[in-house]
């Protein structure tokens, strides 16, 4: 086991003993469940209305009526929930002075950052895996196109990873966990609003550049089933950039 793997294992072990992960996962799953239930009920009433107009031949599209709204609302839940998952990652180490142990061990800061990121990502992956109950159950009663569901999950995965990277950065900046959570929440919301900012500026180079920065447009395309390298590159570069910033912040702590 390399030091980085040891950090992943230790982070997962610590996370499992803390109530935070269970609360976060429970809140996320309950809200995800409720949202998809509402979407299914809405889809049902729409189907009834369609049948009144078109007769029994009417076919409802679960992809449009259930999955898309659920995926969109999930972005909001993740924005609220994931900062709680990442807030302790560095802030707690500094508060409890275990940071000094990490920094005086023969482990590169990039390994520490990577190890911690992988650990929170694995936890997030677990949460997402549990939401698969919804498509699986729906598949038993109705047929739908699986491809956009998969790309939607890919979008959730990438966007969540970006949220986690932003959250880790916020956690590295302060030793107060509440500030870390609030800061990452604020950062994510501002980036989200950049999409709206861009449309205010219209179809100008600046406007396009600003709306490109918002994660929501890229997510939108993935949810609609469009896999574009541009969007994948956006998430990959965003995650790497935030991890790089985290690295710099952790490094700079030594100079204070």
């Amino acid at each position: 086991m390399t030091p980085a793997q040891a950090i992943v294992a230790k982070e997962l072990r610590s996370a499992c003993t803390s109530p935070i992960i269970y609360v976060v996962a429970a809140v996320f799953l309950v809200i995800f469940g409720v949202l998809s239930y509402i979407a299914v009920v809405n889809a049902g009433t729409q189907a009834l209305r369609l049948m009144q107009i078109q007769g029994l031949s009417a076919k409802i599209n679960l992809n449009d009526l259930v999955f898309r709204p659920t995926f969109y609302s999930s972005a909001i839940i993740l924005l609220l929930v994931l900062p709680i998952l990442t807030m302790r990652v560095f802030a707690e180490e500094r508060k409890l002075k275990t940071f000094e142990l990490l920094m005086t061990s023969p482990v590169g800061i990039n390994h520490i950052v990577a190890g911690k990121f992988v650990a929170v990502f694995v936890i997030y992956l677990g949460m997402l895996a549990l939401t698969s109950v919804v498509p699986v159950v729906l598949a038993m009663f109705n047929s739908f196109d699986w491809a956009p569901v998969f790309t939607g999950y890919l979008g959730l995965l990438l966007m969540g990873a970006l949220f986690l990277a932003v959250g880790m950065f916020a956690s590295a900046v302060t030793e107060n966990q509440i500030i870390a959570a609030f800061l990452s929440f604020g950062l994510l919301l501002s980036v989200w609003l950049m999409g709206a900012m861009g449309s205010v500026l219209g179809d100008t180079p600046v406007g396009n550049a600003i709306s490109y920065l918002s994660f929501i447009e890229h997510y939108d395309r993935l949810v609609r089933g469009l896999v574009d390298t541009k969007d994948l590159a956006y998430y990959a570069s965003g995650i790497l950039f935030m991890l790089f910033l985290t690295h710099r912040v952790v490094e700079s702590q030594r100079w204070k």
């Binding site: 040891a6 610590s14 803390s18 002075k97 940071f99 142990l101 005086t104 061990s105 023969p106 030594r254």
Partner: protein
């Protein structure tokens, strides 16, 4: 093994340590002595590559702390001021994690873990959560953490804080047993600790080194005269004056209310037998006679209170290192 040259560390415009220079030989135990806020922790943090110095160089085993931090970190076991423990892990889980962090392989770790647990006597709590351990146990877990990869250099920031007297003695014995094979720097503000385990003492005050020497040399060097305490049953009224007339006596402090006379005599002259004979032949009843050794406490207080002392410079120059 450890060589520190003219290290200065500034936090903004506050200078934590200034031009600190000292070296530690292989197998030596060196104590860092100083009041709180003197710069002990700062110096240790620089040596462990936790933070870089503003100026100056520090090398451990020939590797510069700034240029080759990984090589230095591999060679150092460090116990910070507060033990860096994860409360949600058990003692053996925690030590395994630290071992892996230090790059130990599974096999060596399995062999080493029971040894270290034995060394700091953590056997009975090895499967308990650190959160449920007392301060003393946590301190020992911190010490075990520093020892786990069997580093040639140990840097211990106040290793006996929070321990009960029995544990303090155990830890001191442990540190003593490590000397020879390990190079140890420990900081403390408990003076008997320095005398008990260290070959050399660095006294640091307000970020500057005030003295470097063996504990016994320090007190000898500072001593300008020998002091003797003398208790006599029925001293004559002019006893003090009579004492002053004895050759070699520099001064006599009369207790006035009865009790011990404090006789100061010239350095290098032992006049205890003269004094004894003087009292006994006159039949005043000799009750007690003993030389007062200057303790490290006295040395420390004299050095850190800017009284005249060893290596004290008024022109702001750091004192040259005084070798034991």
């Amino acid at each position: 093994m450890i060589d520190v040259q003219n290290i200065t560390k500034r936090y903004g415009d506050r200078t934590a340590i200034e031009r600190v220079t000292f070296s530690v030989n292989k197998g030596e135990v060196l104590a860092f002595l100083g009041p709180n806020g003197a710069g002990k922790t700062t110096t240790m943090r620089i040596l462990t590559c936790f933070m870089p110095a503003t100026e100056g160089t520090a090398t451990v085993d020939g590797f510069d702390c700034f240029d080759h931090p990984m090589e230095v970190k591999r060679r150092i076991g460090y116990l910070p001021e507060s033990p860096p423990v994860y409360q949600e892990l058990t003692v053996s889980e925690y030590l395994t994690f630290v071992g892996r962090l230090k790059g130990m392989t599974g096999a060596t770790l399995r062999g080493r873990l029971p040894l270290v647990i034995e060394q700091v006597s953590l056997g009975e709590v090895r499967h308990r959560l650190i959160a449920n351990l007392s301060r003393g146990y946590r301190q020992r877990v911190g010490l075990a953490q520093a020892l786990i990869h069997d580093p040639p250099v140990l840097i211990l920031d106040e290793p006996t804080v929070g321990l009960d007297p029995k544990q303090i003695i155990e830890i001191r014995e442990l540190i003593k047993s490590l000397s020879g094979s390990h190079t140890v720097i420990l900081s403390t503000h408990i003076l008997p600790e320095a005398t008990a385990v260290c070959q050399r003492v660095v006294i640091i005050n307000e970020g500057r080194i005030v003295a470097v020497d063996a504990p016994e040399h320090l007190s000898a060097r500072l001593r300008r005269s020998e002091k003797i305490s003398l208790t006599v049953k029925t001293p004559p009224p002019d006893f003090a004056d009579r004492l002053r007339r004895i050759s070699g006596v520099v001064s006599v402090i009369d207790p006035a209310t009865g009790g011990a006379f404090l006789v100061e005599c010239a350095l290098g002259r032992d006049i205890r037998d003269d004094l004894a004979r003087f009292v006994v032949t006159n039949g005043w009843g000799l009750l007690e006679l003993h030389a007062i050794a200057m303790t490290l406490e006295d040395v420390f207080l004299r050095l850190t209170r800017h009284e005249e002392g060893l290596g004290e410079r008024s022109d702001g120059e750091p004192p040259p290192e005084v070798r034991a």
